[in-house]
């Protein structure tokens, strides 16, 4: 009996060694641990769809030519269950067992924080599209490249607009409610720096626990203190809850800015209650960027919608761009050695449907601005920066009684 048990365990160990990594010629394998389950699973799914769409498109177009030889791209996925410990473990596994030499990022800053030390240790490049926390880029990681704008820029637009619209920015009073997770707390840090620049004052500064299903205590404070600007960041749930409860509690603020409101689909889900909300976004389908692979931003949006039957959120777009960055780097490196590819990545200077991508020495993309949407008549309309603005910002938000 014990023999049977041990042979069972042995068989398990053999199976554990995993789907054996036979090295097909002509295939470049990328690895990614994304959140298919757990609290980030909706955005994890967007990330995966974005990766898949780009891989499909690149392979359709003949793949990547490296030193004269064509290669197809392939991604090996694991589910990190939205937990950092799992993420780090799975990436280690991708590198060690699946022999993946190029890693695509997970969803969320927290998971990227957990994974970056692993890729760094093995000298494996990671191009990521969903870890925006500025703290990631203060650690001198050499192998980390992010196609997105960092957290400090997320709500900068909203603060700048508020400053511009007011006679005396230093009189502005700001209320903040940020989820207690790495991403949102980093956004908060950026906001505090920007507020300092304008001399603004924080009147509410709450941290929302991730399990919170009610934020009426915070909103009551906001109602009492009547700030000029309310900033909220808490992934999809934070955005949805804020819109829902502000309408229910009739919280009046002249300006409300959020993150993640397009991936939370607030305009679709909450209708009129979502009007006037400003949303920080990495990308919008109305932007005028273009590349050879996907065409324009709106072409990408259309393709995405045809493929997956839903509107393309920026999380998917930036993920697709991450794959494009890899393809570009492979071609320029003329080699599949991780060190050569890393070198090529540092020299990236390309235009994509998602925007311009150039990495600074810390690995973050410095060539693309954040945009701000405003929900206007049920649509997400770009109102900032001016160069891309489709419409003028509607300000101030009228009180609930007049909406």
């Amino acid at each position: 009996m014990r023999k049977g048990l041990f042979s069972g365990i042995f068989l398990g160990l053999v199976l554990l060694a995993g789907p054996v990594a036979a090295d097909d010629p002509g295939v470049i394998r990328l690895g990614a641990a994304v959140s298919l389950t757990g609290k980030y699973s909706s955005n994890g799914a967007f990330t995966r769809k974005g990766y898949d769409l780009a891989v499909e498109k690149i392979n359709e177009a003949g793949g990547v030519t490296v030193a004269g030889k064509p290669y197809l791209l392939q991604i090996i996925y694991y589910d990190d269950e939205s937990t950092p410990a799992r993420g780090a473990q799975l990436v280690e596994r991708l590198i060690q067992q699946d022999k993946v030499q190029f890693v695509l990022g997970p969803y969320s800053s927290g998971l990227t924080e957990a994974i970056a030390p692993v890729t760094e240790k093995y000298g494996v490049p990671m191009v990521e599209a969903n870890g925006a926390a500025i703290s990631l880029f203060r650690k001198n990681y050499r192998y980390l490249f992010a196609v997105l704008s960092t957290t400090d820029e997320y709500l900068r637009g909203a603060i700048d607009i508020a400053a511009r619209l007011s006679a005396d920015p230093s009189k502005l009073r700001v209320a903040m409610a940020f989820e207690n997770d790495p991403f949102s707390q980093d956004v908060r840090e950026g906001v505090l720096a920007d507020m300092k620049r304008h001399g603004m004052k924080a009147v509410v500064d709450d941290k929302l626990p991730p399990e919170l299903n009610d934020m009426s205590a915070t909103l009551s404070k906001v109602k009492a203190l009547r700030p000029d600007l309310l900033l909220i960041s808490g992934h999809d749930k934070g955005a949805s809850l804020a819109i829902r409860q502000m309408a229910d509690q009739r919280v009046n603020v002249p300006m409300l800015a959020l993150t993640h409101c397009d991936s939370a689909r607030i305009a679709e889900n909450f209708g009129p209650a979502a009007e006037y909300a400003l949303c920080a976004a990495q990308w919008a389908s109305t932007l005028t960027y273009e590349d050879d692979l996907f065409g324009s931003a709106s072409d990408y949006a259309r393709l995405y919608e045809e493929t997956y039957g839903e509107v393309a959120p920026y999380q998917a777009a930036e993920s697709s761009a991450a794959v494009q960055v890899y393809a570009d780097a492979f071609a320029r490196a003329k080699s599949l050695d991780p060190e050569d590819v890393r070198q090529a990545l540092t020299e990236t200077a390309m235009m994509t449907f998602y925007g311009r991508i150039e990495f600074d020495e810390t690995g973050k993309n410095v060539a693309k601005p954040m945009v701000l949407f405003q929900v206007q008549d049920g649509n997400y309309v770009v109102v900032y920066p001016e160069a891309f603005a489709e419409a003028k910002i509607r300000w101030p938000t009228p009180p609930w009684g007049e909406r």
């Binding site: 980030y40 299903n213 809850l241 229910d248 509690q249």
Partner: protein, 300 residues
């Protein structure tokens, strides 16, 4: 923290607002907690899947509204659908842990909770869902106190449900059978009560209560597949404080918990809101234990 307390002084209506909103949340907790107390008392099971039943109830209402039904219809329909779900769950799995160590039931229902979370994620997606009941809010005190109609309805419904549960247990045939089984299952069996049926009905009734709670939650707040746990732990807490046998105490504890939690979130900062709730629960348990120990007894 002091700033926040000062706010209460500066804006007295604010205190009312915070407490009222807390009471309204508490009503939903109470609704889920009735069910938990019922199952705990009758089946001797700690039902960790409680929160997931609430979330499923929310999804039923969400789907109904997607199909064009008026949201409020969702409350009875969710309750009805969840009654069926509860019955099936009991007949399929839960009956196997009745009469077993209560710890086994905790683990087994925890497994069920993971299962349901995941199936909900696979079938409804992980998006945050909400339903607009289209009722708008009520204002008091110059707009400083706002109460959404739907929360008020939730509150009233929770009280009505409590009262009817009490009445049902006291006077309906099935209710009496449930109480008899709770007190002494063996005697109940001898008296010809089909205890298996009573257990199934109790569990299904619990699921129905959760369904109603979920339906109200999706209108007043939001739901997504992984948000059952807060409802589970708060139901726990309410039952731990109120005991399993007393519907009135469950209402009081539920409302009290909601109000206390909201005030704590306001005063200590929302980041310590949950910590406060659980620290409070541990403190209550320890305090009750010490009180019992002084009297040469122990907490059972």
């Amino acid at each position: 923290m002091l700033d926040n307390l000062l706010l209460f002084v500066q804006f007295p209506p604010l205190a009312v607002d915070v407490v009222v909103n807390g009471l309204l949340i508490g009503a939903i907790f109470a609704l889920a907690a009735y069910g938990m107390a019922l199952v705990w008392g009758v089946l001797n099971i700690v039902n960790v899947v409680q929160g997931e039943l609430v979330v499923l109830g929310g999804y039923v209402t969400f789907l109904l509204v997607q199909w064009g039904m008026p949201p409020l219809i969702g409350v009875p329909v969710s309750a009805l659908v969840m009654f069926g779900v509860g019955w099936v769950l009991y007949r399929a799995i839960v009956f196997r842990v009745v009469d077993r160590d209560i710890f086994i039931s905790i683990l087994a229902t925890f497994g069920l909770a993971i299962l349901i979370q995941q199936l909900a994620n696979l079938s409804f997606g992980a998006d945050v869902r909400s339903v607009d009941a289209g009722l708008g809010p009520l204002h008091f005190l110059d707009g400083m106190v706002t109460v959404a109609w739907v929360k008020l309805i939730a509150f009233v419904l929770a009280l009505v449900a409590g009262a009817s549960l009490w009445f049902f247990l006291r006077h309906a045939r099935l209710g009496q059978a449930i109480r008899a089984t709770a007190q002494n299952p063996r005697a109940a069996r001898i008296l010809g009560i089909d205890t298996g049926r009573v257990y199934a009905a109790t569990y299904a009734l619990n699921a129905a209560l959760c369904g109603a709670a979920g339906s109200l939650a999706v209108m007043a707040w939001t739901i997504h597949p992984y948000m059952g746990l807060p409802y589970t732990v708060r139901s726990f807490m309410v039952v731990v404080v109120a005991g399993v046998g007393n519907v009135g105490a469950v209402v009081a504890a539920g409302l009290g918990l909601g109000a206390l939690e909201n005030v704590a979130g306001f005063v200590l900062g929302t980041e310590f809101q949950i910590a406060f709730v659980f620290a409070l629960m541990v403190t209550i348990l320890v305090w009750r234990h010490l009180r019992a120990a002084r009297r040469r007894e122990h907490l059972k």
